[in-house]
Symmetry: C2
Subunit: 336 residues, 2 copies
DNA sequence: TTTGCTAATGAATACGTTTTCATAAATTAA
DNA sequence: TTAATTTATGAAAACGTATTCATTAGCAAA
């Protein structure tokens, strides 16, 4: 017995193909009696529509694609779970494509296997591809780069504001001498975080000291070394607080401070960024800044669907982060 | 400008549609000169084949679907990464569908959006669905249930053997009085692990003591309580070792032993199952049994592809596990 | 020369569906 | 009653591709 098609249903029900199609797709032109009859016959025959035929004819797949280089780690699975749930809610399916091959991404998108794409691909799609997508009016939302045109937008974390808020928080604790431990200066986020830090200092009219910006390269060990040499070089100007470019860097910093006899947070406050898993288990538990990953997923899906429905043009959504106050920060004590 | 199709390429190249199709799909009937000419024109026009047309006509998608209820946690992302890589190698794409809706699974599979399916769905697909798939000769591999017919197979972990081996290892350390901390007795894995434990005892002719099987329910706290009450009830028969149904249970067990003044592993050995992330960071680091997740992914994909190619019939592949010896187990000391 | 064969190409069909448009029947308006 | 409108249905086209089969041209063998 071969695969049952809409034709077989039509024959069995004694109606035309179009009638079956209308019944199945709930197009409101049929008499209730024929409609229910057709549906009953379809069920009896265990009819399942061929999606390729459907999609070819209608030009729609009711599928959104998430294109990513990896799904490993909490960031990705939190993201994917939230997107998946949001797709469900909006009547779409979510399809995860894991690939580093630009070609694969393009042929799936331009080949219309999905109605729209969420793209996280670490900057491997070049201008040429973008303009090809633009020409075809492909609907897409980028998670790791800023892009905005008629049919394409972005949802990114605003590291600048996050850093500004983090610095503001440290200032609110009474800290004035705040050292910023920079990450990798070629990375967008790293630069944004440094700028946010500087902006907060300016806003609260605290002096900006070039010596108070050191390089930690987002790593524990290099930060450890950087902090130690900082303390050696400037034994006179011990800071009130350190703002590290990420959590690993914060940990390296705290280790270094310990070896110099400083207690965190009583003597010096330290905070990081990202709220990695270790953050809450570390001693002291890290005060840090957490990205709202689920929110990113939800916004991306919603934006994409609105692009598809042409209810919206491409926009750059910037997400604010969340301050996570734990044990590594403390009000400044002026006891001595 | 509208979407470019194979027709446009044919017109631009001054050849027929079939010639373009043959050129693009590398069918070896064309003269080299026309072939390269067609490919050049296609490239110039930025032609990208419509996958829905392709798939409808050919009946193939070159896509495998992974159907799962979740992607959260190390098990899933290790699995997905390994499957994805293996798909690449075999010339397939992998598509991850996250859903709890049996309907969605069936319509995607029976609607031929994929050439084959890897299914992890916690037993929600019933016999009716299975037989529908069987009738259509759908190619599928299950990861969480045993199933075997002409076009469908399984790749599962052999918990029985794993537990047997774990017990054997404890015996090899000189332990004779081994307590098994059972999980949830309605779960397949839980039962298998208990049976493996019993089989090892029998094989090495150690006495089987009903009191030495206690309930921990796969949880830290309930195990903690269970072990404490065990020690209270049987102060006379202190065991040499505990084999816990999973790592969380092992941790609960060690905590309880600590409060009773026993040192792990010097006084008593404890081991778990699963090798969760915490296992290696715990004090003492847990001796445990690790499933070879990547292997499961690789085998599943390979089996599925061979089913599709009709080079193989459905089989149940059982994977052996890997003993991870860390600090929570130790040779039995008969000092006193 | 004629015949037969091979190599290269194109015309036409089919895949399974949605959708447009025409038609027939039923209802309402005149 | 007839004309006009609405309602329900079906015939046929279209989506973009792969594939079968026929056709043509070129060439070697007889």
């Amino acid at each position: 017995m071969t695969k049952i098609t809409i034709k077989d249903v039509a024959r069995a029900a004694g109606v035309s193909i179009s009638t079956v199609s209308n019944a199945l797709n709930d197009v409101d032109v049929l008499s209730p009696v024929t409609k229910s009859h057709v549906l009953k016959v379809a069920k009896q025959l265990n009819y399942v529509p061929n999606l390729n035929g459907k999609q070819l004819r209608s030009g729609k797949t009711k599928m959104l694609g998430f294109f990513t280089t990896s799904v490993s780690g909490p960031y990705f699975y939190k993201l994917v779970e939230s997107m998946s749930r949001e797709c469900d809610r909006l009547g779409y399916g979510l399809n995860v494509f894991i690939t580093k091959d630009r070609q694969v991404i393009m042929s799936n998108i331009l080949g219309r296997r999905v109605d729209g794409a969420i793209i996280y691909e670490e900057l491997r799609i070049d201008e040429e591809d973008i303009s090809a997508m633009q020409q075809e009016k492909i609907k897409a939302v980028f998670l790791d780069r800023v892009l905005q045109n008629e049919t394409m937008g972005s949802v990114i974390f605003d590291s600048y504001v996050a850093s500004y808020e983090a610095t503001k928080y440290l200032i609110s604790l009474g800290h004035k001498k705040i050292v910023y431990i920079s990450g990798v200066d070629t990375m967008f986020d790293s630069v944004e975080r440094k700028e946010g830090y500087l902006a907060a200092l300016r806003h609260y009219q605290l002096p900006i000291n070039e010596d108070y910006i050191i390089q930690g390269y987002f790593e524990e060990e290099s930060t450890y070394n950087a902090v130690k040499s900082f303390l050696h070089l400037h034994p006179d100007k011990v800071p009130d607080a350190f703002l590290a470019g990420n959590d690993l860097s914060a940990i390296g910093c705290i280790q270094a401070l310990k070896t110099h006899g400083y207690e965190v947070p009583l003597d010096i406050s330290v905070m990081g960024f990202d709220d990695i898993d270790i953050a809450q288990y570390y001693t002291p538990p890290l005060t840090t800044v957490r990205n709202q990953i689920a929110k990113q997923g939800i916004q991306a899906i919603n934006h994409l669907v609105r692009l598809i429905q042409k209810k919206e043009q491409g926009t750059v959504h910037k997400l604010t982060s969340e301050l996570v106050v734990r044990g590594s920060s403390h009000v400044k004590i002026y006891s001595k």
